[in-house]
Each structure stands twice: as structure tokens, then as C-alpha cells.
């Protein structure tokens, strides 16, 4: 592969189509992913705005929306099955098509070669293919709203029998089949990407870039890609089995005696619990696929904006590796009250809570990285701090849920909704924004507007935090999730009013994001031209002009002589020593 890349990165001029559409350049593909994830985030956000309207004002009629969604909101009144479709697709889109796409597809593609000193990914064509399989995956998911019965409505977890039998819910007619096809395409694309990332990181590091000199972002992307590669295949198998149960009369997940609308089903011999095991065998590692790169980006910001090395780099790497390993073997904590053996449940609880040990090390190292630093509160740093705050509250919330005994009360309540939104919604979103503001100059050679960026932070962080913190408390009060409204139950009388406040905060949050989108796209053309190393950072991507040329470095790829965080080295002339500076010039401190 490497033979095809000329040593000086001098590429013949390519047509527009090859350069920007069917490009094999990792930077272009990364941006394609990032922009796709923004578009999908708008859809996912709009879906949840509709849900929030329903939850705050359950009986209101919205005639305009009735015209827009003639089936789901006939006459302007939302139907419960439409609400469940919105919910299912919001979850699916946000987890897979926004956060995974932005962090691994976007930042993974953009950063890996630049930060490890490679000219491109190991398999550039596979990389392009991966993106162009993601596009139909997105289209199939979105298109499923238009098929008979509407989009899938069995939750992003798609538990059978609800997801397996067409009579169970309208969304389980064709919508669920489209969902399965969309997921299959997504997994195919994601696997190509993952193979590429792992191979590139293992084989294409520049001279001197040992594993323990890699930036923490690369470590986190490496571990996340590995987890994805190991965890997605069981879901692929499960999806095929579900497809068979739906259309070929098999009974992998369906026992005998199922009775729907005066009709006895002919299935027999399967069990719904099998799906739950297969789904969460992916589903739990998947949340680490999301959170690890987010933590990596969060950590990456700290040395740059405190002008001192990351505290406990090695311990952090060991902790991330441990978290990844443990993350693969604790999926059962999603199933404490599922009917799984209680013995197994308790073992999963003990295993799950061991994750708090390495996670707390990461948390402490984040704090200690700020200790004694010279703080520069630029926009990326603000979002990084937001991420730390979310990681704190979200992480502590996890202790309530990982404990099987307290989970009995909290399982399937809004406490869970609040918890996972803070973690795989909040920490990730904060990190994605931090990364966008931080690497924007690398992407386009211009800076994003700092004032708008800070305003964006002060709109996003409090609104996001407030919404999902409130959900923890109404979850403690017992509010079940996935409810169309809360009117039937007297014990939920007190949580109806907070719904209105949560909805208003959600609207604010959504509107606030246009500040970001506007800033992002306007800055591409009008942003202040960026210096080569605008944040005075030590990692390799800042040793080449912005935007980097095809092949990433005009001349030779720089050699690496030190770790990524040599800030304020005693005796050095600058407070930041790039990884490419030889040890003779400035002493190496790790």
C-alpha cells in the first residue's frame, strides 16, 4: 500500500469528484463523516423535540405538525405508536449515526494518520468504501419512517417479541426490517473503519512513535476500534436471526404459546433472553466505544490549555485498557431484572463495579492534570471541563445502576435515561464540540469564532446538564421510561410539571446548537486565518501546514523523539516542545 504514496506527498491534481466526493484522503473522509453526523444529529434532535412536546403538553393539538406527519400525528394529535417510533429512532440515530460517526468516523479518520505521523490510512480505498456504505445506512434508517406501519418502535434495544412480530406494534411491520437492514449496513461500514484504524495505528506509526508515546486520543480511538471489532459481530448475527424470525418462520427468540389479537403464533422453542444477551454483548462495549474517544479528546485538551503535562499518562492508558477489557464482560448489568439467573446477576454486579476503579483513576488524573496549571479558558477547554463535570456526575450515577440491589428500583426508569445521556450523550457531545473547536484550524486553516463558541458552551452545558440531572431525580421517584404520557398514575402526579421545564430546556439546547452550526460553516469561509500551531500544542498534526496537504507532510514525515505532552520542560526555550524535537535540543521527560 505504502508504495503507492509518493515520498513527498506530491499528488497529481484530481478531479473534484475524486477529491471531495469519492475521496480516499483520510482528512476528507473524516470531514464527510463529521458533516454526515451533524446532519443526522439535526434529525435525531428534531425527533426528540417532538417527543418533548408530547411529554410536556400531552393533549395539545399541533395542526401544522398534523400536516407534516399525516399518519403519526393525524389531526395534530400524536399517536402513542408514533411517539415510540420517534423514541426508537432518536436512540438509534444518536448512538450509532451521530456519536459513533462523529467520534470514530470523524475524529478517528481525521486524527489517526495526522497524530501518529502517517500519510494516510492503511487501506484508503476501504476507508472510502466504509463512508459510502454509511450513506445508504443513513438513508435506509431515515427512509423507514415512510414505510407501512412507520419506523421501528421497539426501542433502540429492539427486544423481541415486540420487534419480531408484526402484530405486536405497527413499527414492527416493515419499519423494523428496514431498521435491521440499516443496522447491518452500519455494522459493515463500521467494521471496515475499525479494521482500518487498528491496522493503521499498529503498523503505520512514524519512526519513534512507540505505543507509549502516542497521544491519549489515539489510545482511546485504538481501544474503541478494537472494542467495536470484537463486539459488533454478535449483533450482526443477532440481527440476521431476528430477520429470520420475522420473515422466515424461525424461532430463535420466540417461545411457543405467543398469542396476539386472537391468533396463536406457530413459533416455538426460542427465548427472548437470547436476544438481550446478544444485544448487550454489543450494546455495553458500544457505550465504551463512544465514551473512550470522548475521554481521550477531553484529556488531550488539558495539557494544551494548562501548559503542563498530562498527569499520570501511563496510569491513564493502563486504566483505559482495563476499562475496555472489563467493558466486554459486564453486559449482564442491563439484565438484572430480566429473568436471568440471579446468581449470574450478582456476578455481573461485582464485575460492573470493578470498572469504577480504573474509571476513578481516569477521573483523578483529569483533576490532577489541572492542578497547578496555567489555565487558558479557550472554547475547546471550556467544553473539555464540561465533559469532566458530566463524567463526574454520570459516573457516580452509574454506581447506583451497576449495583443489582439498587437497580431493582431504578431499572427502566428515567434515572437510567438521565445517566446514559450524561455519559454517552453528554461527555461525548462535550468532547465532540471540544474537538471541533480545537481541530477546526487543522481542518480548514481558519479559526472558529471564539465569542460565539463560548456563548455556545454557556447555552449547551447548563441546559444539557439540567435536563438530565432532573431526570435522575424523577427516576428516583419511580418514573418509568418509554411512556407516552404520565397521566394514568397517581404516584407520578408530581413529575408532570417538571416535564414542562425539561422540555423548555430541551428546546433551548436544540436552538443553541444552531450557534455552533452557523459558526462552523461560516468560519470555513470567513474565519480568522489560523497560525500553523494556534494552540501551541506538542502533537504531530501541528507540524504541518493547515489544512494539511494530501499525504499530510510536504517533505519527510517527522520523526518522534518524545511523548506527546512535553510542556514547560525545564530549560527549554518554549513552554511547548513538539514531539518531533530531538532529545539533544530539549530533554525528554517521559
Amino acid at each position: 500500500m505504502a508504495d503507492h504514496v509518493p515520498a513527498h506527498g506530491a499528488h497529481p491534481r484530481q478531479s473534484f469528484l475524486r477529491r471531495y466526493v469519492f475521496s480516499t484522503d483520510h482528512k476528507v473522509i473524516g470531514l464527510q463523516y463529521l458533516v454526515t453526523s451533524m446532519a443526522m444529529a439535526l434529525v435525531g434532535g428534531l425527533l426528540v423535540m417532538l417527543m418533548r412536546m408530547q411529554l410536556a403538553w400531552p393533549h395539545s393539538s399541533w395542526p401544522l405538525l398534523g400536516k407534516l406527519f399525516p399518519v403519526g400525528m393525524e389531526g395534530g394529535l400524536m399517536k402513542p405508536e408514533f411517539y415510540l417510533s420517534l423514541m426508537t429512532m432518536h436512540g438509534t440515530i444518536m448512538v450509532f449515526f451521530v456519536v459513533s460517526l462523529a467520534l470514530l468516523g470523524g475524529f478517528g479518520n481525521f486524527l489517526i494518520p495526522l497524530q501518529i505521523g502517517a500519510r494516510d490510512m492503511a487501506f484508503p480505498f476501504l476507508n472510502m468504501l466504509s463512508f459510502w456504505i454509511m450513506v445508504p445506512a443513513c438513508l435506509v434508517m431515515l427512509g423507514s419512517f415512510l414505510v407501512e406501519g412507520g419506523a421501528a418502535a421497539a426501542g433502540w434495544t429492539a427486544y423481541p417479541p415486540l420487534s419480531a412480530i408484526a402484530e405486536a406494534i405497527p413499527g414492527s411491520q416493515m419499519g423494523q426490517t428496514w431498521w435491521i437492514v440499516g443496522m447491518a449496513l452500519f455494522i459493515a461500514s463500521f467494521t471496515m473503519g475499525g479494521l482500518n484504524y487498528v491496522t493503521t495505528i499498529l503498523n503505520m506509526r512514524t519512526k519513534g512513535m512507540s505505543l507509549m508515546r502516542m497521544p491519549i486520543t489515539i489510545w482511546s480511538l485504538f481501544l474503541a476500534s478494537l472494542l467495536g471489532l470484537l463486539a459488533f459481530p454478535p449483533l450482526t448475527a443477532a440481527a440476521v436471526m431476528l430477520l429470520m424470525d420475522r420473515h422466515a418462520g424461525t424461532s430463535f427468540f420466540l417461545p411457543s404459546g405467543l398469542f396476539f389479537g386472537n391468533k396463536l403464533m406457530e413459533h416455538s422453542g426460542g427465548t427472548p433472553l437470547l436476544w438481550q444477551h446478544l444485544f448487550w454483548f454489543l450494546g455495553h462495549p458500544e457505550v465504551y466505544v463512544l465514551i473512550l474517544p470522548a475521554l481521550g479528546i477531553t484529556l488531550e485538551m488539558l495539557p494544551v490549555f494548562t501548559r503542563k503535562p498530562l498527569f499520570g499518562y501511563r496510569m491513564t492508558v493502563y486504566s483505559l485498557v482495563t476499562i475496555s477489557f472489563l467493558g466486554m464482560i459486564v453486559w449482564g448489568h442491563h439484565m438484572y431484572v430480566s429473568g436471568m439467573s440471579p446468581y449470574v446477576g450478582e456476578i455481573f454486579a461485582i464485575g460492573t463495579l470493578t470498572i469504577t476503579l480504573p474509571s476513578a483513576i481516569v477521573g483523578m488524573n483529569m483533576l490532577a492534570s489541572l492542578w497547578g496549571g496555567l489555565l487558558r479558558l479557550r472554547t475547546p477547554m471550556l467544553f473539555s471541563i464540561g465533559s469532566i463535570v458530566f463524567f463526574g456526575t454520570g459516573g457516580f450515577g452509574g454506581i447506583f445502576l451497576g449495583n443489582a440491589t439498587s437497580d431493582i428500583q431504578l431499572h427502566d426508569t428515567y434515572f437510567v435515561v438521565g445517566h446514559f445521556h450524561l455519559m454517552i450523550g453528554g461527555v461525548t457531545l462535550m468532547a465532540i464540540f471540544a474537538g471541533c473547536y480545537y481541530w477546526f484550524p487543522k481542518m480548514f486553516g481558519r479559526m472558529m469564532n471564539e465569542k460565539l463558541g463560548k456563548l455556545h458552551f454557556w447555552l449547551t452545558m447548563p441546559a444539557f446538564y439540567g435536563i438530565f440531572l432532573a431526570m435522575h431525580y424523577i427516576g428516583l421517584a419511580g418514573t418509568p421510561r418509554r411512556y407516552f404520557n404520565f397521566e394514568r398514575y397517581e404516584f407520578l402526579a408530581n413529575i408532570r410539571e417538571p416535564q414542562v421545564w425539561i422540555t423548555i430546556a430541551a428546546f433551548l439546547l436544540f436552538i443553541g446548537q444552531f450557534l455552533f452550526l452557523g459558526n462552523f460553516f461560516a468560519s470555513i469561509f470567513r474565519g480568522r486565518p489560523a497560525p500553523v500551531n494556534p494552540w501551541e500544542a506538542a502533537t504531530l498534526e501541528w507540524t504541518t501546514p493547515s489544512p494539511a496537504p494530501h499525504g499530510n507532510w510536504e517533505g519527510e514525515i517527522p520523526e518522534v523523539h518524545r511523548w506527546a505532552y512535553d510542556y514547560n520542560v525545564p530549560g527549554a526555550s518554549s513552554d511547548c516542545t513538539a514531539q518531533s524535537v530531538p532529545a539533544q535540543s530539549v530533554p525528554v521527560t517521559l
Binding site: 490532577a368 479557550r378 454506581i399
Partner: protein
């Protein structure tokens, strides 16, 4: 020193103080709200153990959260006022030793909690019910709870899937003598106070979840499985029974009621509902 470092320190520290105050407030608000009573009023025996587990975590986590936010705010506030870093990096050995602190704390808080406070409660809930338990069979369907008592003989009548119909929602075999005295109901479960109640939980279509928020009971109903668990109600009154596992478009309305009565009232109810 970069252009962004020292020159605008005044505004920088005002901004960082503001951020620090927000961080401190977050910590205080989270813990302050957490200290309020959110859980529905307790009405079961084992529920006290679950509440103790929750309270323990709330206290521990609340303390850690305050410490964490206190430190974070402090570092942010102090960090912007400096003109040089006051601490660069520690040796690997020191970093390793520091890592022991969060490990020990979490081992005590999280693992200690689950092993010392959690495990005994868990073992009791899923352990064998007392021999004098009152048995109630609950069968979930879209979107109702079918209730069945075994009657005076203590035996449930036979069920057959092929007998299922809209008129016979449980597929009961009318010829089976064991079923003659079974008491059948819908959505209302009558039980006596301070007696162990054993639930046999089933489902005939999709997953449901038997959730009694006041009694700290939650158990999924899985088609093809019969899942047993037990609890002891400790308060008289009507307690709502929502479904906690997404089961279809009527999920939000699939509500039942647990009616906890005195032993005399319960016996009277059994007499009145005896069908021959």
C-alpha cells in the same frame, strides 16, 4: 510564553472564578437535591434493604461529588491567576501511588456496597419464599395483567396454549378439577398485609415488567418463562402497578393495582370471590 498566557490575566481570572462558582454550585445543587426524599413511600419488608442500599450510595457519592467539584472549581479558579505553572509532573512511582487512592475509595464504596449491603438483600429477594406464602399468578398481556389465585386446594388448573381465545385469555382447561376453585381477576391483586406473597410471573405475548414502585419490586415478565419472586407488604392501601418494560403502544396505560388489606378483609374477599 504564548500570547494567550499572561497579558489578559484580569479578565481570565474573572471568567475562571465564574466557571469555578458554577462548578461549585453544581456540586451543591446535585447533593442538595439528592438529599430530598424522592422515592415513593416504602410499603414492603425487603424494600427497606433496597432503600438502605440507595441511601448508602447517595451519601458516599454525594461526599465524593462535593470533594470532586470543590477541587475542580479550586483548580480552575487558581489556574487562571498564575503566570507560571506551579507543579509540572510527578514521577511514575508517585503517580502509581496516587492511583491507589481512587482505587481504594471505589473498592470500598462500590464493591463494599454491593457485597456488604446489596448481596444479602438480593439473596433474600431471589431466595426461596417462606412455606406459608400466598401464591398469586400474574400473566401479562398487551395491555393488562391477568391475575389468578389457586383457590382453596392450593393448586392451579391446567393451561393450554391452544385453548387461548379472547373469551379464555389464560387458556384454562375447564375439565381440570384443580382449576374449579381458581379465582380469576384482571389488573387487581388483593393480598393480606405482613404475609409473604409469592408471584408466579408469566407473559403471553411480549415482554412486560411487574413494577410496584412503593414496594421496590420490579421483575420482567418473559414469554415462555415462569419467574417466581416474593415480597411482604407492610402497609395497607392501594399501590399502583405500572408496566416497566416497553410492551407496545399501550405500554403507558398498562396499569394494575395491588390492594393490601388486613388478613380479615382478605379472607372475606376470598370468600366473596370463590367461584364454584
Amino acid at each position: 510564553m504564548g500570547e494567550n498566557g499572561g497579558c489578559r490575566r484580569g479578565t481570565a481570572s474573572a471568567e475562571s472564578l465564574f466557571l469555578a462558582i458554577v462548578v461549585w454550585l453544581i456540586g451543591i445543587i446535585v447533593v442538595g437535591l439528592g438529599a430530598r426524599q424522592w422515592l415513593p413511600e416504602l410499603a414492603s419488608d425487603h424494600g427497606a434493604g433496597i432503600d438502605r442500599m440507595l441511601t448508602y450510595i447517595l451519601y458516599c457519592v454525594g461526599g465524593l461529588l462535593l470533594i470532586g467539584h470543590g477541587l475542580l472549581g479550586w483548580f480552575l479558579w487558581k489556574g487562571a491567576g498564575r503566570d507560571r505553572i506551579s507543579f509540572r509532573m510527578a514521577e511514575h512511582r508517585v503517580e502509581r501511588n496516587w492511583s491507589l487512592i481512587p482505587m481504594i475509595v471505589m473498592a470500598l464504596v462500590a464493591e463494599g456496597g454491593v457485597l456488604v449491603l446489596g448481596l444479602p438483600v438480593w439473596a433474600k429477594i431471589y431466595g426461596p419464599p417462606p412455606a406459608d406464602s400466598i401464591v398469586v399468578e400474574v400473566t401479562g398481556e398487551q395491555f393488562a395483567w391477568n391475575i389468578r389465585y389457586p383457590g382453596a386446594d392450593g393448586k392451579f388448573g391446567k393451561q393450554e396454549a391452544k385453548l387461548l381465545s379472547l373469551d379464555n385469555p389464560l387458556g384454562l382447561d375447564s375439565k381440570d378439577p384443580d382449576g374449579k376453585d381458581d379465582i380469576i381477576g384482571l389488573n387487581s391483586i388483593h393480598v393480606p398485609i405482613h404475609k409473604p406473597i409469592k408471584i408466579r410471573l408469566k407473559s403471553k405475548d411480549v415482554l412486560h415488567s411487574f413494577y410496584l414502585p412503593h414496594l421496590r419490586v420490579k421483575q420482567d415478565a418473559v414469554p415462555g418463562m415462569t419467574i417466581e419472586f416474593w415480597f411482604v407488604p407492610t402497609k395497607k392501601g392501594n399501590f399502583e402497578l405500572p408496566c416497566a418494560e416497553l410492551c407496545g403502544l399501550g405500554h403507558y396505560e398498562m396499569g394494575g393495582m395491588l390492594i393490601v388489606q388486613s388478613e380479615e378483609e382478605f379472607t372475606k374477599w376470598l370468600e366473596e370471590n370463590k367461584n364454584g
